[in-house]
Symmetry: C2
């Protein structure tokens, strides 16, 4: 049931070894640490995870490594969307068969100006292709990257057609009116795609958030989500937002990885896959010197 | 050498069987017919081919089936781009190893606001990943779909860094000033991504076109490209453009397939893969009744 999904889900960054391959042991270690810090689960293979820069085999291997490494599948909500329906089926089916809590489904994102009827056909074919492995799908709306998006009328149609499958949405548009409108569906797990407005979103019916910032600030965000309806939430929201603002937007993924590298003492964490680029040394030093970020690092703060 | 590439390259539509699988024999038959009608070669696995709706294995199978079916690899210019560098390497390497004339390379198209440095790193890693199978790459610029594009300063940098590899570009932006600017590179095969302005583009230095319309109108477009610098080109351009205009823009791929179905008497050609949709019956009847389209069909024209 969607209600079990409530909380912070972290779209965990994907570490790369010097060879360029995914560093699976490091990824699993990171995921376990975040759960220990209070994350409900891991939205592996999301945008922050560079999932669309990985092959289907690499994506399957991430899911398998997490489970083999001791992370329960009900703590995993992998991204399984793809421009190619065959890839989306293979990944969604794999996640459902493994018992994952749900999957985050991007719309097919190559062609633009796609109709809602076309997206409906894509989802229907996907569900059919999963056969006996019925997935629990959260529709992933991130128009900044995918351009193609899930409209609210389409979400309503999909819920009506597939009530046991379409269980929620992740909305990274930043448009809270979508959260408010989707809340009328009922029994529908809504996650804003950032912690920045999570208190306001939860007041409208969201059940938590899926947040890149959770990679470096899981404890505070999990606490914020837990107390969202209480008076102390306002102050915590401000603190959490200071970290998020320091991470920036344009180089968010590289920044998250630079902070994880500093937190763990493992410089390999800085690596990204093209077309993304690591932070320059100047950018990295400036980021780690931001007070909100410095407070997350294990080193004692430098006196100023 | 790029000069060998001159002419019409058709981004051939991909037929699907009733099972949803690629109908490889039908695809090969279509490709051979287009070459017989005057196309220089086949830009298989392009946007019109729904290539990004196919898995990597399906894309490899298209290349292999063409060659096994008797289409010489020097008549093939497959699309090998992907959001995932691993997939782009696998496909580019496969095409180069098979002896294809070149490959059309989309930029990685999931993340937006990517820097030229990031795209440069992607191409450099791709070429490295091809190892001894050096590809001949034509950069494929189609901002309407990919959003991410190849800027002219980046193209110049890539040519400078990889002169034996970066041999041309396909430009579907419709912006002729890009053709004009790229023509100064010299020894660089420029193809506009449509036949609609091919005469003007060739006057600026383009060597032909890669055109969806070639799927249904190859003979006329090949003739137009052959006589582009002569006085009779103007009249032919008008005739070719009437077909293109009738095919429309919003449902171009479904329209192309509907016309191929009518030309070949094989209704299976109408199938598309989600998120695209077939034309409705009303749309299809209206399209086939357009005078410019009716003239391409084997049936005698209905008296009006």
């Amino acid at each position: 049931m969607p209600v079990n999904l409530a909380g912070l889900w972290v779209p965990i960054a994907t570490p790369f070894a010097a060879t360029g391959n995914v560093d699976l042991p490091l990824l699993v270690e990171h995921g376990k640490r975040l759960i220990a810090e209070g994350a409900t689960g891991l939205a592996v293979l999301g945008t922050t995870s560079e999932a669309n820069s990985l092959t289907v085999d690499e994506r399957r291997a991430v899911i398998d490594a997490c489970i083999a490494g001791g992370i329960p599948p009900e703590r995993l909500m992998p991204g399984t969307g793809s421009a190619a329906i065959g890839d989306a089926i293979a990944l969604t089916r794999h996640a459902a068969a493994a018992g994952c809590a749900g999957v985050l489904l991007l719309p097919p994102f190559y062609y633009k100006n796609i109709t809602d009827d076309g997206l409906f056909a894509f989802v229907a074919r996907l569900i059919e292709g999963c056969g006996k492995f019925t997935p629990r799908i959260l529709l992933y709306h991130i128009p900044q990257q995918a351009v193609v998006g899930w409209s609210l009328p389409l979400i309503a149609r999909l819920r009506e057609a597939f009530p046991a499958v379409i269980v929620g949405m992740k909305d990274s548009s930043g448009d809270l009116s979508r959260v408010e409108q989707a809340s009328v569906f009922g029994n529908f797990a809504i996650f804003p795609g950032s912690e920045a407005k999570v208190v306001a979103a939860m007041a409208m019916g969201a059940v938590g958030c899926v947040s890149a910032g959770g990679n470096v600030n899981a404890r505070a965000i999990a606490e914020l989500v837990a107390v969202a309806s209480k008076p102390e939430a306002a102050v915590l929201q401000v603190a959490v937002n200071a970290v998020r603002a320091a991470l920036g937007d344009r180089t968010l993924i590289a920044s998250v990885k630079a902070v994880i590298a500093a937190q763990t003492g493992h410089p390999g964490w800085r690596r990204v896959r093209p077309p993304l680029l690591e932070l320059t040394e100047t950018e990295r030093v400036a980021l780690l010197a931001e007070p909100a970020i410095r407070a997350l690092l294990p080193m004692p703060a430098i006196a100023v």
